[in-house]
Symmetry: C2
Amino acid sequence: MNIDLLLGQLRKQSGLDDADCAVFASKLRPAKFKRRESLLQQGQVSRDAAFVLSGCMRAYSLDDNGFEHVLQFAPPGWWITDMYSWISKKESNLCIEAIKDAQVALLSRDDQLELFDRIPKLERYFRILAENALVSTRTRLMENMSLTAKQRYHIFLKTYPNLGNDIPQKLIASYIGVTPEFLSKIRGEK
Amino acid sequence: MNIDLLLGQLRKQSGLDDADCAVFASKLRPAKFKRRESLLQQGQVSRDAAFVLSGCMRAYSLDDNGFEHVLQFAPPGWWITDMYSWISKKESNLCIEAIKDAQVALLSRDDQLELFDRIPKLERYFRILAENALVSTRTRLMENMSLTAKQRYHIFLKTYPNLGNDIPQKLIASYIGVTPEFLSKIRGEK
């Protein structure tokens, strides 16, 4: 498993040195997922957060009518987990699966908390990560309440600049909250 | 300013001792807001996060059509800020104002970051706070995409058990994303 992408982030954003990186790396477990293979299913307890090294994952929920709602895509360089289940050890409300064959590095919550006591800079890295994820999620919540589907589609393209033509359109529709037919109409407009 | 409510949280959740609490308290600044008075207006840079000691604040955005969308209410015991503006020092997209006369303790981002170096347990407190806020906001985002307005209203009542009859109904309507007339209809149903 080549985790340079992750260690690069840790060195650059939080100043971890080689010794810290080695301790952190020793807690990571490699995993591979074929397209449509699940890391987590609704109702399971999430043991691991995943850092995507290659491919692409997504987190989504299934509503009572069987409709999927995409919370997040995770291309290389992104973390993905059901944060609620991961920190509470309660049953997950989300499914997480690969949408392209993916390689990931897994980290359990227990290992993460133990590492925070050994490497305070790692707690800082994850504190900043949580703050940034909070800003993004709040922004998206407000956008969903106040912007049109077309505006939300253009924000999707900015958030995930490499995914627009790379993943099934029905997943993008499910992320911005419209039918695939409506997304097709938006894409057709100049 | 009586900040026992805040120091109680810090002692209980993060094990801060009296000396740490005194250092933290020395960075807090008291402020009072009359109903409808603003802590932050859209377009300003957010200097301070506010911990609500009494009364109630709210954060909301105004869309291009003049409609308000409530991101958050903050009754006593809650923090409130435009996280995006507070951490980036860029212009805010949110307004924050009192909906009932409020007393708050203000903390600047610069002071917070300086305190993290002096009191690692404080960084832990705010890391956990950011994680929990992320879980709540993600949950609300998924609920907005998949639940009915009536279901969202009942979740509002659980999230803010003391606010249902205590604040203007139009603000609750704006939080769950319906018109006041539609909320009135929901409340009338058994």
